[in-house]
């Protein structure tokens, strides 16, 4: 559709219509129905606007309308334009998606008998692998359900310990045209199993890109998961990530989400504690630059007693950039003896930088320990003066302080290789 008068809705409708004939045989499946319902719902409600409290600071729909109303198809992949050198070298299973399509050449899958990795290369695969079954409330998740054409399903068997990180790399290469990518992943960590998953979002090219990704995670009893996300988006990237995690009794989750740059990045992280004695650690660092926005919406829903959650999100907001933090913690009536801690700290680098932060604790149980704190400020002048009075130039002193501020989150990454890599990226970003 190169029609100038088309709308973003026409663009999506066109994509849906193009996908339908490929679903031969699956048209009667529950997945197909879910997909159809999701798109109908999306059409009815459209994108959330600024009036919608949840998307007040992140008008992704408007941004899409502006950049993608003339979108037709993704350009052919030009490997020479992918900034491979920016990719950390991974030794474990690595699943690569380029512009929303599974890429066999760059991926490396090594078989393990207690680990199953199922790759979906088409919407039909996704339907057959039952990854498209769930209903969707979020408009973007619904859109993803309707349009996703690839993804992976990672199943870690009961009792298995997978030491090497399983890596999912999303590359958008918008050098030769605009790019849209919809991926949908599923992760199931079996009872008493342990695994590490690292997701990298890498963007390049100076054209607009839109990535809409969904990940459903389930942790069975006593499962332990380290889950890392690193966003290295281009200045033209619009990206929304919907991650939903379910935790059963005694499961442990460490999730760290680090984002550098991008035009408009939205992270929806929803964690539901459907078990007792769960441990949930969720940490994030966001450094929007130029006129970019990074928005983190997190939900921790304590439904049963005796669980702990710890949340630390930190933002360094560049000159004209915007950071958003919205952290909801629900402690349901049954969730007695819950410990829930949340903290959000921000440093604004200029008067023109913006942060919108909103901690939201809703507590129905009466025997709980919950705290939340939020700080926002400029760089500490006393600290800066102290370092300068020791002979360190202003710029280096600022960098030292920002690095220390950000490192509190980076230190939560337990995987040494990734932690070193992210620390190096931080250093680079602070230099620029």
């Amino acid at each position: 559709m190169s029609n100038r008068n088309s709308t973003i809705l026409d663009v999506f409708e066109e994509q849906i219509n193009a996908l339908t004939p490929q679903l031969n045989g699956a048209a009667n499946s529950a997945g197909y129905q879910a997909r159809k319902l999701a798109f109908d719902t999306f059409k009815e409600h459209g994108f959330p606007t600024r009036k919608n409290e949840e998307y007040r600071y992140t008008p992704l729909g408007k941004a899409l309308e502006e950049s993608f109303a003339d979108f037709t198809t993704n350009p052919a992949i030009d490997y020479s334009k992918i900034k491979e050198k920016e990719l950390p070298v991974f030794s474990g299973n690595t699943i690569v998606f380029i512009n929303g399509t599974y890429d066999e050449t760059m991926s490396q899958l090594t078989e393990k008998n207690n680990l199953e990795i199922i790759i979906s290369k088409s919407q039909k695969d996704l339907i057959e692998n039952a990854s498209l079954a769930s209903g969707e409330e979020d408009a973007f998740s619904g859109l993803n359900l309707a349009l996703a054409t690839s993804g992976c399903q990672i199943n870690v068997e009961k009792g298995a310990v997978i030491e090497e990180s399983i890596n999912i790399i999303h590359i958008t290469c918008a050098a030769d045209g605009k790019v849209m990518a919809n991926c949908r992943h599923e992760v199931n960590i079996g009872e008493n199993a342990q695994a590490k998953i690292t997701e990298i979002f890498l963007g390049s090219g100076d054209q607009a890109a839109f990535t809409n990704s969904v990940m459903e995670v389930s942790l069975a009893h006593h499962a332990i998961l380290e889950h890392y996300k690193v966003g290295l988006d281009s200045d033209h990237e619009l990206r929304i990530d919907n991650t939903r995690i379910q935790q059963q009794n005694n499961s442990v989750l460490h999730t760290v989400n680090v984002n550098f740059g991008g035009k408009m990045i939205r992270n929806n992280l929803n964690i539901t504690l459907n078990g007792e004695h769960c441990e949930t650690n969720l940490d994030g660092l966001y450094m929007p630059v130029a006129k970019g926005t990074i928005d983190n919406h997190t939900v921790v829903d304590h439904r049963l007693p005796n669980s702990n959650s710890n949340e630390l999100y930190k933002g360094i907001i560049g000159k004209q950039a915007t950071g958003v933090f919205n952290g909801k913690v629900f402690v349901r009536q049954d969730a007695q003896k819950t410990n829930a801690f949340q903290s959000n700290n921000n440093i604004l680098l200029a008067d023109t930088a913006t942060i919108n932060t909103k901690p939201q604790l809703e507590i129905w149980a009466d025997d709980v320990k919950c705290t939340h704190g939020c700080t926002t400020g400029q760089m500490d002048k006393e600290q800066l003066f102290y370092l300068r009075a020791r002979g360190i130039d202003k710029e280096s002193a600022q960098k030292l302080l920002l690095k220390a501020f950000a490192e509190e989150v980076i230190e939560k990454i337990k995987d040494e290789v990734l932690r070193a890599r992210v620390a190096a990226i931080l250093e680079e970003k602070l230099d620029s």
């Binding site: 102290y386 370092l387 300068r388 020791r390 002979g391 360190i392 130039d393 030292l400 302080l401 220390a404």
Partner: protein, 258 residues
């Protein structure tokens, strides 16, 4: 080495230093005493280059340079060291962590080569002995959870590492018990030489039992109203500051912030 002439300074529009004159020569120890709010800490801050203070008049020459033209970092590199009255906490930055950058930037300014990691560590170990400070402390976030004594020992340790020409000790004795005071004072004395000088700012005479001054100055309402030898410090200890106040009722009535 240091010549302060008719120095006037204010903060947020209120005048605090009202014409200070002071000359410090290599090898000398000067004590500046005075009641609370007389402007002692302001003088230290202005010399170190704290930006909240406005210099309204006068000159400060340090080794032939106009000190007031230099940034705080250049003052430090040129050889001024301020031991802070209230050393700031910096979460996530350890002493070891910033001091390497600090020492090397100072060395570069002085035309000396950079210290590599091994040389730096060797230097640190040597200087740690001077104030009996533990390496574990130097690896912790700066001043976070440090006791008063640990904070001040760390200040003097940094002084030892940076080898300043002029050290300004801003109420280094405040909050220290006698043992900590002795360690800190011994550290300062160990670093003394005929080429460097020290300005000791204090409210009480006790510190001067350990760091013996060549000159004692009394700062009152933004001016040095009396200068003498260490005898003056004893006199102040005995008689308090009231007689100074009585001798100088002419100064304006307004309260001077600390």
């Amino acid at each position: 080495m240091l010549a302060i002439k008719n120095l006037k300074a204010s903060v947020e529009g209120s005048e605090i230093l009202k014409g200070i004159n002071l000359e410090v020569k290599p090898g000398e120890v000067h004590a500046i005493m005075g009641p609370n709010g007389s402007g002692k800490s302001t003088l230290a801050s202005v010399l170190a280059g704290r930006e909240e203070y406005d210099v309204d008049g006068g000159t400060v020459t340090f080794e032939g340079k106009n000190l007031l033209d230099l940034s705080p970092e250049d003052r430090a590199r040129a050889g001024i060291f301020l031991a802070f009255q209230y050393p700031v906490e910096i979460p996530g930055v350890s002493t070891t962590n910033f001091l390497k950058a600090s020492v090397n930037q100072v060395r570069e300014y002085r035309g000396l080569g950079e210290l590599d990691a091994v040389e730096f560590l060797k230097e640190m170990k040597e200087k740690m002995k001077i104030v009996d400070i533990d390496q574990a402390l130097l690896r912790r976030s700066l001043n976070e959870g440090f006791s008063g004594g640990e904070k001040k020992r760390n200040e003097i340790f940094q002084m030892a590492m940076l080898e300043p020409k002029l050290a300004i000790l801003d109420e280094t004795d405040s909050g220290l018990d006698i043992d900590a005071l002795r360690i800190v004072a011994n550290g300062v004395n160990a670093l003394k030489s005929k080429d460097n000088a020290t300005i000791v700012i204090t409210h009480y005479q006790r510190l001067l039992d350990y760091i013996v001054p060549d000159f004692v100055h009394v700062l009152y309402k933004g001016k040095i109203v009396k200068s003498g030898t260490k005898q003056l410090a004893f006199e102040l200890e005995e008689r308090g500051y009231d007689w100074i106040k009585e001798e100088h009722p002419d100064s304006t009535q307004d309260q001077i912030p600390a």
